[in-house]
């Protein structure tokens, strides 16, 4: 890629995101109390879910310790304890869905109304495509679908990010405390590594993330371009239909059909590329799905085998290892969502900029109206 083209592309994208946030955050300012209440509620739900995750992690330990001791009374007591823990977890999961979707619905409503009203005002929907040539194709789709994606994803992503951070920090503590230190003999000396499971999970997660970045570094741009190609194809089909309705397309109009074929070909090529990117990242993600629990068991096995760790502690540590590793995977797990969000936010921003331009034009054409 040419360096200047790349720089201008990045600056252009920053400009678009800034324009999107300017309108998207408008509803936060006007409904501050409601936003703070709902946001606070969602944070409390995430923290309660974390608390339950810790409780379930401890439950794991006590249950397996009781099994190892063949202590039937404790096994049954733990089995009974699992019911309220599971019920609370299920209740919180359902509550979280309600909270997230309510926040997403309200945000979408505010932004959709804002964009739609500006689009409808002074019949701008009639003039938009005549005044501006690029970035205003398919405004209906941008208003209905892109606004939804652009307001859905940030809430899910932000909550998942917050949850990942607090989960990683909390379970670091579990790994440090339960895993303890390990002695490694080297060159006649014994090297003691404190909290070795913490270092283990950091190294393992670093390797997985590194592999994912190596295999999937094109993924976000490919998803964005696939979405863009889809939008352009949709716009081309729509324009073709409108032209045909106006009688501008003859039964065999080679150039217009060729234009449709080209747009379709672009969509298919990007989908093929998307498929290969997913194939590559699946190699890493599925490998990680298989390896992460086993790596945790293997790291804990020496301490269990020499009696320094009970079976319950072994299962608790392995579960904590997998939880922390999952938290580290936030970026990797959300690659596709991030890319979808970016492309939708860009399309909404392009429409907003076009409306800005049209409004400015209206003001210069009729200053008296603008003053009033």
């Amino acid at each position: 890629m040419r360096p200047f083209h790349q720089i201008s592309l990045i600056l252009d994208q920053k400009h678009l995101l800034a324009r999107f946030w300017q309108s998207a955050s408008q509803s936060w300012r006007t409904q501050r109390a409601r936003v703070v209440t709902l946001g606070g509620f969602l944070i409390v739900v995430v923290l309660l879910q974390l608390l339950l995750q810790v409780a379930l992690n401890l439950w794991n330990r006590h249950f397996f310790d009781a099994l190892e001791r063949k202590d039937a009374a404790t096994v049954w007591a733990q089995a009974r304890l699992f019911v309220p823990l599971a019920a609370a977890s299920i209740f919180l999961a359902a509550t979280s869905v309600w909270g997230r979707m309510t926040a997403q619905r309200r945000w979408r409503e505010a932004l959709t109304r804002h964009v739609m009203e500006r689009w409808l005002e002074k019949d701008r929907f009639r003039h938009l495509n005549h005044h501006l040539t690029k970035g205003t194709e398919n405004p209906e789709y941008r208003i209905s679908v892109d606004v939804r994606i652009a307001t859905d994803a940030p809430i899910d992503l932000a909550l998942a990010f917050f949850s990942s951070i607090v989960t990683a920090i909390t379970f670091f503590g579990v790994l440090w405390e339960i895993g303890g230190s390990v002695d490694i003999p080297a060159f006649g000396l014994t090297v003691t590594i404190p909290g070795y499971l913490v270092f283990g999970v950091i190294i393992y997660s670093g390797m997985v993330s590194g592999l994912m970045i190596f295999f999937g570094h094109h993924l976000t741009s490919v998803i964005e371009r696939t979405n863009q190609a889809e939008a352009e194809f949709r716009a081309a089909v729509d324009a073709f239909r409108q032209d045909a309705e106006l009688g501008n397309v003859k039964p065999i109009d080679g150039s217009k059909r060729q234009a449709l074929q080209l747009k379709l070909q672009a969509v298919l090529l990007w989908w093929r590329e998307f498929c290969w990117q997913l194939v590559r990242t699946t190699l890493v993600s599925h490998g990680n799905f298989l390896f992460a629990p086993v790596v945790a068991w293997i790291l804990c096995a020496p301490k269990y085998l020499n009696g320094a760790m009970s079976l319950g502690e072994l299962t608790q540590s392995a579960a904590a290892f997998v939880v922390v590793q999952g938290a580290f995977n936030w970026v990797v797990d959300n690659y596709q969502r991030l890319a979808d969000w970016r492309s939708s936010a860009h399309r909404v921003a392009t429409l907003l900029l076009a409306l800005d331009e049209l409004e400015a034009k209206e003001r210069t054409e009729s200053p008296a109206v603008a003053k009033s």
């Binding site: 890629m1 083209h5 234009a259 074929q261 070909q265 298919l268 093929r272």
Partner: protein, 142 residues
């Protein structure tokens, strides 16, 4: 013989097919239709095209035109006269057979190997499909 179709993707194998088809057209006085299937590019080429050109559709169109232009020059040098270029889309074998039917071609000339070596090994090459499915004489140039 009235019409000959030759398919090209710009590869050396396709160039040899153009040479043979142009020779047939020259000696028989038939019209020569050069057909290329658009969008026949690798993932790396796709990203490069999108980065440099911005509008992928236009870049694909330009790439197809370039292949056709080079092929037409090559056929003209050999001595073919009535040459027409066409771009098809979609699955190469299906698009070529559609063109053969549409143009009522008497002969189809293709190279044995194009660019799709791996997919050719897995799914059978385009020339193999054409040899068994095309409704006209098929010449496969090695």
């Amino acid at each position: 013989m009235h019409r000959i179709i030759v398919a090209t993707d710009g590869s050396p194998g396709a160039n040899r097919a153009i040479d043979v088809a142009a020779m047939f057209a020259k000696t028989s006085g038939a019209n020569l239709i050069i057909l290329t299937i658009g969008g026949n590019i690798t993932g790396a080429q796709l990203r490069e095209l999108a980065d440099s050109a911005g509008d992928l559709s236009k870049a694909l169109e330009a790439a197809a035109k370039k292949i056709l232009g080079q092929a037409q020059k090559r056929a003209l040098r050999i001595g073919a006269h009535a040459i027409k270029g066409q771009t098809g889309w979609g699955d190469p074998a299906e698009a070529i057979i559609d063109a053969v039917r549409r143009e009522k071609a008497d002969m189809l000339v293709v190279g044995r190997r194009g660019r799709g070596r791996l997919s050719g090994l897995l799914l059978g090459s385009v020339s193999q499909k054409l040899a068994s499915l095309a409704p006209c004489t098929v010449v496969v140039v090695p």
